[in-house]
Each structure stands twice: as structure tokens, then as C-alpha cells.
Symmetry: C2
Subunit: 412 residues, 2 copies
């Protein structure tokens, strides 16, 4: 008996049949005495359809209006789920971002949650209602509709779990049954993890593992929200818990690396031969930051004859925009040219054990070299090593690293 925040992604609510099956899962939890707040994404394909409509008029579309348009998808699915529950004899009520004032900043399409007014939710829960919340959306201080970015419904769920002090936050997935050592579609012997730490999950998420949105994991870590990743198609499955490092350690004390992640959603931009003066980096990255574009890896080589090359990666969806901005600045800065490449992959090893083990990086580079894969950029953190490689080597590299670090299923 407790309060559980659940989140159902787009594929979990892709059809009326699936929505009804989500309703049945909610009811089974209520029958055990739990109170449920369910966050829903738009029906699979709907957000893409809406973005496409907008882009056919203007590409990139006006950001404020795009958020108005795309947020309608969650509005529909939240209403349909509430109706399904009512039809099964359970009181339910849907809330949109403006109805529980999910207050965000005003960076359209990538807004950050500031506060949530939990009064309407608590009132509905006290009336024994199932609360359905439209994920992905919020409002800024002026009441403009904002959205939280792709995968934003995960964030909505985690933020609600934090605000409501929920006992856990169940993130239901329709395409996976938990977190794996790597992508099982590339490595058939990938192994499901029982527990994983926030830090590791964060690295995996930020590296393109599509299971959880990175910001949602960050948020969960900050407010210590226990995330339980479970498959929609089999709610009885153990799934994977994403929890604090201490809690997760017991099951993996001897494990140095817990996973191989890859991110195909990055593009690489190089400003070639830019004069090496103080303030160049700021001049280059401030306009990108102002547009809410997240620059991931940054590499600057040693200065030669007063010039340097600056290479960095941006999300693919921001590639066109970023390139336009960078080309203008490069001209002002008298750089020789701007090179770019969006056929790259960032491949990474993740593991909290890495902190206390040496030799991981060199083994990674050797493994890649052994397969003839050229490394274009490298970046490291306490629990992660990432290399940018040519896109076409992705599967080969993932399998080679997964084997080299013995991550496979013991039975595999």
C-alpha cells in the first residue's frame, strides 16, 4: 500500500487496446491498495505526425507554436486513459500541464521543470481517483505551453514522484523489459541488469540508450526517486531498478563495466584554424547555449602558429541550426572553414567500478584498433569513456567491446 507514479510511453498507449491494457494494469495495483498517478505519452507516431505537419509549413517551425501543437498528443492519450478507467468503474481524472501548473522555464521544446502545484493531484487522490497526467508538457510563467523534449514524459513522472514523495516511480516500456549491458538487437547475449546506479544509468541515457531520458535520471538522482523500469507487456517482470550507488552495489561489486552504450544521435562540427585568442570558446558556444542546444563533447587541439581547431558534437536534431549559427560566427572569427559530419556514433563504456580500476581505457582503444575502427574524438569521466567513431562501425564496435569486457549473459 503506497503511492506509485507510473509512466506509460507512446508504444504502451499506441492503440485503444493497449490503452485498455494499461488501465487494467492500473486497476490491478489499486486492487492491492496502492494509489496511482499515471503519466502518459502521446500515442506512438502522433508526435512525429504533428511535428511533420508543422515542418511542412516552416522548417524549423516557430518554437512556441510547435509546443502548442505537439503537446496536444498527450492531451488526447491522457483523456482516453481516463475514459478507459471510468469505463471499468474506477474514478479517474486527467490533468494537463496548465491544470497542475507544471511550471517550466520558457525554453520551448526543451523546457526545464521548476515547480509543480500538487494541490489538484492530492485532492483527486484523497477522493480515491486515479490521477492521469499528460506527460511532456508544462507552462511557463506567462502561461505559454512548453514541452520538455523527447522522452520528457519520463521527466514528468520522476518530477511528480519527487513532489508527491511517491514510494516508487514505475517507468513502463513497451520495447524493453529492463536495462541491459548493451543493445540486445546488436548483441544477442546482452544481459539484463537487476539494479543499476543513477550515475551509470545517467551515462547510458546521455549516451543514447533510449530506455530512459537522461534528465529524468538526473532528476531522480537529485531527489532520490526510486525508478523501476518494467515492461508494459509483462507487468509481473522484475525489470531493472535504478537506485543509489550503495543500494546497487551489492549485486555488482565485482563488476568494473556495467554496459556498452552508443549514441547515433550526435553530429560533429569542427571550426578549422580559428585564431587562438581568449574568449573564442565563449564566443562560439554562448549562442548555441542561448538556443538551448546541448553541446556534448568538445575537443580543442594544441595551438599551431596562433591557430587552433575546435571540434564538438551536438544532437542531430540541432545539427542544421547549429551549423548555421557556427558558420556565421566562424566568419566573424576569421576561421578558415567549418567542417561537419553527421554520420558518426559515440560509443561508450560505463561502470562505477571504473573509478577503482585502471586499464579500462587502454583496453577499449586496443579492442577498437583490433577491429580496424578509427577513433575521431575521445572523452572520459569518472565512470565513463566515450569515443566518436564512424557510424558504419557501430555494431561491430559494440559487439567487440561487449565481448572484450565479458559483459554477456553467463549462459550466452
Amino acid at each position: 500500500m503506497g503511492l506509485i507514479v507510473q509512466k506509460y510511453g507512446g508504444t504502451s498507449v499506441a492503440s485503444l487496446e493497449k490503452i485498455k491494457s494499461v488501465a487494467r494494469n492500473i486497476v490491478s495495483h489499486r486492487d492491492k491498495g496502492d494509489s496511482i498517478v499515471a503519466v502518459v505519452s502521446a500515442m506512438a507516431g502522433e508526435t512525429d505526425r504533428l511535428v511533420k505537419l508543422a515542418k511542412e509549413i516552416m522548417d524549423p517551425p516557430d518554437e512556441r507554436e510547435l509546443d502548442v501543437i505537439t503537446s496536444s498528443g498527450e492531451q488526447v492519450s491522457s483523456g482516453l486513459l481516463a475514459i478507459s478507467l471510468k469505463c471499468m468503474g474506477h474514478e479517474a481524472v486527467s490533468f494537463q500541464g496548465h491544470q497542475i501548473r507544471i511550471l517550466t522555464d520558457n525554453v520551448y521544446s526543451k523546457a526545464k521543470i521548476r515547480t509543480i502545484d500538487d494541490r489538484n493531484i492530492k485532492k483527486a487522490l484523497s477522493e480515491n481517483k486515479v490521477v492521469i497526467v499528460a506527460g511532456f508538457q508544462g507552462v511557463d510563467e506567462e502561461g505559454n505551453v512548453t514541452t520538455l523534449g523527447r522522452g520528457g514524459s519520463d521527466l514528468t513522472a520522476v518530477a511528480l514522484a519527487a513532489v508527491l514523495h511517491a514510494d516508487s516511480c514505475e517507468l513502463y516500456k513497451d520495447d524493453v523489459d529492463g536495462i541491459y549491458t548493451t543493445d540486445p538487437s546488436i548483441c544477442p547475449n546482452a544481459r539484463k541488469l537487476e539494479k543499476v546506479s543513477y550515475e551509470e544509468m545517467l551515462e547510458m541515457a546521455s549516451l543514447g540508450s533510449k530506455v530512459l531520458q537522461a534528465r529524468a535520471v538526473e532528476f531522480a538522482m537529485k531527489f532520490n526517486v526510486k525508478i523501476h523500469v518494467k515492461p508494459t507487456y509483462n507487468p509481473a517482470d522484475k525489470g531493472t531498478w535504478v537506485v543509489q550507488e550503495e543500494e546497487s552495489m551489492d549485486s555488482m561489486e565485482n563488476i568494473v563495466i556495467s554496459g556498452v552504450a552508443y549514441d547515433r544521435n550526435q553530429a560533429k562540427i569542427t571550426v578549422v584554424q580559428v585564431p587562438d585568442r581568449p574568449g573564442i570558446a565563449a564566443r562560439l558556444f554562448t549562442p548555441l547555449a542561448e538556443k538551448g542546444i546541448i553541446v556534448d563533447m568538445i575537443v580543442q587541439n594544441v595551438s599551431k602558429e596562433g591557430h587552433t581547431d575546435m571540434t564538438f558534437t551536438v544532437p542531430k536534431e540541432d545539427y542544421k541550426n547549429s551549423l548555421r549559427i557556427v558558420q556565421e560566427i566562424a566568419k566573424e572569427l576569421n576561421a578558415r572553414e567549418v567542417d561537419s559530419d553527421n554520420r558518426i556514433t559515440k560509443i561508450s563504456l560505463v561502470g562505477v567500478g571504473m573509478k577503482t580500476h585502471s586499464g579500462v581505457a587502454s583496453q577499449m582503444f586496443q579492442t577498437l584498433a583490433g577491429e580496424g575502427v578509427n577513433i575521431m574524438m575521445i572523452s572520459t569521466s569518472e565512470i565513463k569513456i566515450s569515443c566518436v567513431i564512424e557510424d558504419k562501425y557501430t555494431e561491430l564496435a559494440v559487439r567487440a567491446l561487449h565481448d572484450a569486457f565479458k559483459l554477456g549473459d553467463r549462459n550466452g
Copy 2:
């Protein structure tokens, strides 16, 4: 140079091409120096699609959630129109019901507008922006999403025109170029009216002429909003003005009847042999009123042996619901049975001239009798006579009355 509120219906925004053409029409008005507030419906077919989704789960669907779902259609079209204008270099901003607090009562799917907060609109207009408003939707005092009923975008437009003291309210239609003496698809010689009074339009609208929503006309009459019905496909067309009686009279001083209207959207329910006691009518109609079901015609025959029959009509969409309610009450009241028929049409003559002319009713009854059409119910008002007839006689009756009262085009 003035402030014009425009409304574009679902067929006017049915495709991206049509939305762009709406944007061009708005720009042509701005080029003349007008400020524009444009109200949009959902893209044609979208509301039906959404209602169907909800009904597939539960029929009738939960009313609160249905409004959440259907209001998403206008959200999308308002955003798309704003993007189109921006793409053409004009500043534009969309507002949803909750953003300009179109405050309504809490009768879902048939909410009535109480107030509108015009501050955000006035601010945007002062910044020289085109204001796009999502029609059909509002919020109640608790912030629940409500909708105004079919054709509700007309009402949104007229209410905005009243609040903003707009110079006129242009209602663009994609299927007609103005108000006709009757349905041109039934009477090829139907004539377009240059002007029509609120009262006449109101009768026509409430009688199923789908050109304008009855409540919108009522609202316009109350606040003296000048309505200009125009075709989207030819904005230069003179259309039809809907104005105060005095203004409209000049063009039709000698005309007794201005139109023949018909309404196929009614169904008839008869409570047979109900004990004739005081309070029976209240007992019967109060539960219907509480559900927001609009009972139109009511006929009670002379009491025989302490029993009477009570016949009335309700909108077809409320037929099932009403029948269920009435059957329960009939049982409590010891009525013999409940008869019902949804294959009926209400056919009406409308004209302010009727007030000062006699013999219109008898000529109507004679005309129908001459065609062998049986009259099932009759109701009259100062400027209208309505008869309920069998649905299958609709076209025959419309043409016969249109001819009998010489309403046709002089060239026809």
C-alpha cells in the same frame, strides 16, 4: 482600419494548403491596416476522429475527458496557422482557452461562456501581432477544459468580438458564400440574402441551418456584434450581413418570409398515457435539463380519463441518453409506454414580416397537405412556424414551401 475578429471553420483549415490560404487572407487585411484576431476550428474531420476514438472505449464517453480530447483539435490548427503567418514574415501568437481564460460554466461539451480575460490579446495586438485563438474551448472556474458544443468556434469569435469591441466579426465558411432562403442543395433557385436580422438568423440556426451556430447568433444579438458571413474561397464576395432588424429591413421591407429551414438533427420521444398530475412535466424535463439536453418542441395533448401523452424533441446526439433517462422516469410515473422516432425532420418558415401578416400558417399547412405530407407536431413563435414531419418528405416539403412563398431567385 479597425479591429476585425475572423473565424475560420474546419473545412477552411482542412489542409496545410488551406491554412496557408487563410494566412494570406489575414495578411491582405493587415495590409489594409486592420488588426486581426482569428478564431480557428479543428481541421475538418479531426473532431469526429477524436470523438470516435473516445466512443470506441466508452459510449457515451465521460464528458469531462471527452472535452479534454476534442479540444486538442483546435490547439493543433491554431498553432499551425500561427506558424504559417510567421513563415510569411508576420508576427503571430496562438492562444488556447486557458491562456486567455475563456471562463465557462462546467457543463461539459455544451459549456456557456461567462467572461474572457482580454489582457493577453490586447497586449499581443499592441505589439502588432496577429492573434490566433483556438475556438470551441474554454476552462471552468476550477481550470477544467470545457467545450462549447458543435459550431462553438462561431461563439468564440462572436464573444471575442463583443469583448474587444471589434468593428465586425467575419465568419468564413468553406461550404457556403452566405445565407440563403433555403438549402440550395435542395432548391436550386434558393436566393442569397444580402442582410438578415439576428432574429431570423437565430430561428434559421436553431432550426438546423448549419451556417451559423444558434448560440453565436444569440450572443451577437445581445451584444450587437455585426456578423459578416463570407466564403473562404472568395474573400471578396459580398456574403451576408447578420445585423439588427432595423438595419436589415431596408432590403426586405416587402418580404414576409425570408427563408425555409429544416432540421434533421432532432428525435421525437412520446411518453404515452402518463397520469395527468401537477408536477409531471417538471419531473420529466428536470433530469434532461440537468444533463444539459436541450428539449426543443413540447406538445401535450388534452387529458383523457386522467391521462395525457407528452411528446417532445431532443437533439439526435442526445437521443440515446434522453431515451434512457425518460424510460426510467416513465416507469416511476406509471406511464403506459415510451414511443420514440429519430427519423423525423423539423421544417420551418422564418421571417420577421410574419409578425404583421396573417395566413402564413394556414398556407403552410395547405402546402404540406397538398403534397400528402402528414404533420406530426406544430410549434410557432412570433417570426417562425415549425412542423415536424417524416424525414423522407424533407426535400419535397422544402421545395414546395420555397415555391409557395415565392422565395426563389427572380432569375430562377
